[in-house]
Point group: D2
C-alpha cells in the first residue's frame, strides 16, 4: 500500500488558542512533515492552522476535515479539504482518520476528539502543562476499559517521536 502514516493534531480552535499553543502546534507540524507523515486536522483555526502551517513550511502534506460543506472555509494551509457538511460530528471522522493523535491543549471539541480516538483505540500523546479538560487524563485512561493511555510528553519533538513509536508498535 502507498498509504502514508496519518497523524491527527488536535487542540483549541481560534477561541482559546494562545501564542504558546500555536508555537508548539507549528513545531509539531514541522516534525510530522519531516517524518514523511501526513498531517490530519479539523482544518479550522488555532492549533489546526498552526500545525498545518508548520507542516507546509517543512514540505509536508496536509488534510483538513472540516464541519462545513464548503471547502473555502478551511484554513489556508490544507492541501486536501474534506468538507463534511456534518458540523462538529466530524470530530469522529478526524479520530477515525488517525493512525495516531497528538493533543495540544484544547477544550470540549478536543475532549470530544480524544473520546473518539480512545473508543477507537488510537495511540495518543499529549503535551503536558497546557490547559483544558484533556490534561487531567495524561498518563492515564479515559475510563475503566483502559483502551489506550494518553502518554504525556513535554515538547513537539518528543510528541512526534513518541507517536511514531506507538504507531509502529
Amino acid at each position: 500500500m502507498v498509504k502514508k502514516r496519518q497523524i491527527l493534531v488536535i487542540g483549541h480552535n481560534t477561541n482559546g488558542c494562545t501564542p504558546e499553543h500555536e508555537k508548539i502546534a507549528y513545531d509539531v507540524g514541522v516534525e510530522i512533515a519531516k517524518s514523511g507523515s501526513v498531517l490530519i486536522s479539523g482544518g479550522l483555526g488555532g492549533v489546526m492552522t498552526a500545525s498545518a502551517h508548520g507542516a507546509k513550511d517543512a514540505g509536508g502534506l496536509t488534510v483538513g476535515i472540516i464541519p462545513q460543506d464548503d471547502a473555502s472555509e478551511a484554513n489556508e494551509f490544507c492541501d486536501v479539504v474534506i468538507p463534511t457538511g456534518m458540523g462538529l460530528t466530524r470530530d469522529f471522522l478526524n479520530a477515525l482518520s488517525a493512525d495516531g493523535v497528538i493533543i495540544v491543549g484544547g477544550g470540549s471539541g478536543t475532549l470530544s476528539e480524544t473520546c473518539a480516538a480512545y473508543m477507537n483505540k488510537k495511540p495518543m500523546v499529549a503535551i503536558r502543562n497546557l490547559n483544558g479538560p484533556v490534561m487531567q487524563y495524561i498518563d492515564g485512561y479515559l475510563d475503566h476499559r483502559k483502551n489506550v493511555k494518553i502518554i504525556g510528553v513535554d515538547t513537539a519533538q518528543e510528541a512526534v517521536k513518541k507517536i511514531l513509536e506507538l504507531i509502529t508498535a
Copy 2:
C-alpha cells in the same frame, strides 16, 4: 407543532453498568414517560436498556439511535429505531436529538455524548456520586466557554423535574 419534548438519557452500556445505575436509569425512564416526553437513547444495553424499559412500563414513547445499520441490534424496549450505520459517530446525533440530557454515570462514550451536548448548548443534568469521567464536571463546565453547566441532582425524580425546568427556560 406536534413535536414532543425529547429527553436523552446517557450512561454505561452493558460493560460498566451496575444494578444501581440500572435502577436509577429505569426510574428516570418512568419519570420521562410520566411527563409525556419522548425518551431518546443510544438504543443498546445498560442504562440505555434500563431507561427505555422504565419508559415503556410507564406507557411512554422511546427512540433508540444505534451505531449499527440493522434495527434488530437495538434493545427490546425501543418503539422507534434509527439504525445509523455510523458506528459511535452516532453519539453526536443523540446529542442533536435532545432538548435536554440526563447523565447516569457512564464512561468514555457518555463523555463523548456530553461533549457533543455541551458544544450544542443542550441543557444537562447528572446524577451525583456515580462513577466515570463525567462526574467531575458536575456543577461546572466542560471548558472555558461556559456554554452550559452540568447541574447535579441526587435522584431520578429530581433529574427529570430539573431537566424539564431547564428545557422550558
Copy 3:
C-alpha cells in the same frame, strides 16, 4: 421487541410538489397510521409535510429526520425530530430507518434516497404516473445487481397494502 414497523415516505420537497402529490401523500400517511406503523420522512415540506399531516390526522406516530441541526426547522406534523445537522447526507439515514419505502414522485433527492434504499435492499413501492427520475425504474431495478424491485402501484391504499406485504415477507 416493541419496535413498530417503520415506513418511509419520500417525494418532492416544497419545490416541485403539486396538489396531486400532496393528496396522494396525505392519503398514504392516513393509511400508514391506520396500519399502526410509524411514518418516517425527511421532515421538511411537500410530500414530507403532507404524509405526516395525514398520519397525524389519523392518530399515527411520525418521525422527521432533517438535514439541519435545529429541530424547529422540521414541519409541524412530526412527533419526533432527529436534527442530524448532516445536510442532505441524511438521505441515507432515512433509507436505513425504513422497513419499507413508499415513493410519491420526487426529484434528485428522492432518487438519492431510492438509491440508498436499493443498496440496503429495502422493499420499495412507487405510485405510477407521477413525474421525476424515479418513475422509469418502476417494476424494474436500479442496476444489474437486481437487489430489490420497485413495485408500481396506482393508489395510496395499494401502496401501503403492498409495502406491508413486502415488509412481512
Copy 4:
C-alpha cells in the same frame, strides 16, 4: 490557499467493472495526476482502484474515502485514507469533497454519488456509451431544478480537460 483541485472519479466497484471501464478509469487517473489535481475516490475496487492506480503511476496524489472504519480496507493506491465508518452514506462525502466529478459507467452507488453531486451543484462529466443508470442523464439534468448538466465526453483525456474547464469557470 494551498488547496489543490480535487477531482472525484466514480464508477463500478469490483462487481460490475469490466476491463474497458478499468482502462478508461486508469487513463483518467493518469490525466488527473498530470494536471496536478488530487484524485478523490471511494477507495475500494473497480474504477476506484484503476483510477488511483493510474494517478499513482503518473506521480499524483490520491485520497480514498471508504465506508469502513479500518484504513486497511482501502485499495493499495490511496496515499490518504479517510475511514468514515459510515457505510455507503459516505457517498455524500465523496461528492462534497469534489471540485468536479468524472463518471465512468457505474451502478446504483454511482447514481447515488451523482445525485449527491447534482444536489451540491458540482460540475460533472461522464464517459459516453458505457452502461448503467447514469448514462441516460448524459447531456441532461437529473431533475426539474436543472442544477448542473452532466456533460458527455468520449475519452479519458476529454473528461479531464472538460472537468478542469468547468471547475475553473
